[in-house]
Structures are given as structure tokens and as C-alpha cells.
Point group: C2
Chain length 172, copies 2
């Protein structure tokens, strides 16, 4: 097993000019890299009595379920509007241009459950902050937010300052 | 551990009138149900020397990675157009009205690798057949297609007759 950071590929000018996209697919395709990533995030939260792991569509679905299995927890998906079939709670949040909305089933989390939120990458933190609000609306306790990658220069941790953050790879 | 089928919830008239949607979220949130589902699909393919597990956006991302970890394989995402950052192969396929397209990174699979494709639910099989074509375009060998649920009455297995299919729960 080499360095996980060597399995991240830089893609210049994606999705638009001037942005260097961190492509995690070389890591996902590496059996040891995939397992080590999942295990490292799981280990950080192993003593936090996590009841539920939450991941947001689409890339939060990749690391959330195997971390849930490691922690003997359930997995709850957060989705874009209209995708979840049962009754939902919603939170809207500001983007650079316009707003976006995330939804969760309103029976997904019981009051007082310890919830770990997972995504592949922390950028400005807008989506993750909205997901934390959704969990809290249902009475859940946000026990932490775990990421594979943190783009520290975008200061997402400021927006998530109330929570226990963990990321394996940080770019400053 | 009870019966996995008891953890599937029927939602009438979703996403449109007359359709009974099979909601898997009560299963995902049940730690034993989630683990048992992942383990059962993994066990079916455990002797097939799987190199790569492939899942399509978004719900194929849920079961694909933990099955990949179980099988000591890598995970490759198939996505909707414009979502993958590197160079891609594409396959388009017919829907009831119009067409849809799926994409894969063109370096994701090496010639001759054994590939297991995973999704939560087999309906008509159109998306899965397109995903199999993508894998074959890259020279991969489709070693099987695994599902949590099969809606047998929609005859998806006819479209996928060339492949080893496995599903845990069948509705006829």
C-alpha cells in the first residue's frame, strides 16, 4: 500500500476553467486504497457510538455504506428533491449562483441518535452544513463529518465549526 | 436477523400513478439488513475472481463499494453525461420516452478483467444492459450482474440473458 494521496488525480479546468478537480476514481479502483480509505474514516469514529451514517447523493453514497458496515450502523441517503419516495424534510442553501435543496426521509433518524455524515470531499462546506441541519431537524446528534479529502484553502471548516471534522488528505 | 423482504417498503403511486415503488431505505438503515444484503451478493461471486465492481449513479453507488471491499476488488462508478472528469466512453439506450446515456472513464477497466456490475433493483434491465456494453467496450469480461431486488414480472433477465444474474429478493 502506497500513499493514498498518490491515488488522487488532478484534472485541470474541470468542471470549469481555472478549477483543478480532485479525481478520486484511481483510488476507488485500487482495492487496497479503497479499503484503507474506508477503514481510516471508520477508525476515527469507532468509539463515538455511531447509530447512523448519512451520505448525500451521489458521491456520498460511495463511502457511506462501507463505513456504516464497519461501525455496525445503518445508512441513510440524503437526496436531491423528488428522488426519495416517502415523506421528507428539506433544507435549502445558497450556491454561488442560486440555491440548492437536499432532502431526507422524515423517519430516517430517531431523536438522540448519533449520526456520522460522510462525503468524499470538503470544499466550501455548503452541502455538508445543509445535511447537518437536516439531521438536526429530525432530532439527531451530529457526531461528526468525515471526508476523504479536504480542500483546506476553501475554509469549509468555518461553516462546520460546531462539528467534529475528520479528513484523510488535506490540500492547503 | 429477520427476513430481508420485511425491510422493503411499498410506496404506491411513486414516481407516478399505478407504480408501486420498492423503497429500500428501511433495509439500509437496519445495520444487520445492510450487512446481510452486501454479504449475500458478495458470497455469490466470491469464487469468480472479480477484479472490479461497477455501479451506476446513484443507487448503484450504495451496494457497489462494500461488495468490492468484500471481494478485494476495486470500484468503478458509471455516471450520467458530464459528471466524470477524465476521458470517457459512452453508451446510449432507449427509455419509454426518449433516450439516456451512461459514461465510464476509458481507463477504468483493463482488457480481460472480470467485472461484477451491481445495482439495487433490476426492472426492465435497460440501464444494466447499457452498463454491460460500456464494460465490454473497454475489453472487460462481464462476470455477473448482482441486485438486491428483481422485479421478475418486468422480464429484465431477457435483456441480460448473456450474463450470470443474481438477486436476493424476487417479486413475481
Amino acid at each position: 500500500m502506497g500513499n493514498l494521496e498518490e491515488l488522487i488525480r488532478d484534472i485541470p479546468d474541470f468542471p470549469k476553467e481555472g478549477i483543478i478537480f480532485k479525481d478520486i476514481t484511481p483510488l476507488l479502483i485500487d482495492p487496497a486504497g479503497l479499503k484503507e480509505s474506508v477503514d481510516k474514516i471508520s477508525e476515527h469514529y469507532t468509539n463515538k457510538k455511531i447509530d447512523v451514517v448519512v451520505g448525500a447523493e451521489a458521491r456520498g453514497f460511495i463511502f457511506g455504506p462501507p463505513i456504516a458496515i464497519n461501525l455496525n450502523a445503518g445508512f441513510v441517503p440524503i437526496r436531491k428533491p423528488g428522488k426519495l419516495p416517502y415523506t421528507t424534510e428539506s433544507v435549502s442553501y445558497d450556491l454561488e449562483y442560486g440555491t440548492d435543496t437536499v432532502q431526507i426521509h422524515n423517519d430516517a433518524i430517531k431523536k438522540g441518535q448519533n449520526v456520522l455524515l460522510i462525503d468524499d470531499l470538503l470544499a466550501t462546506g455548503g452541502t455538508m452544513a445543509a445535511c447537518c441541519k437536516l439531521v438536526e431537524k429530525l432530532g439527531g446528534n451530529v457526531a461528526g463529518c468525515g471526508f476523504l479529502i479536504e480542500l483546506s484553502f476553501l475554509n469549509g471548516k468555518d461553516l462546520l465549526k460546531d462539528y467534529d471534522l475528520f479528513s484523510i488528505i488535506k490540500y492547503s
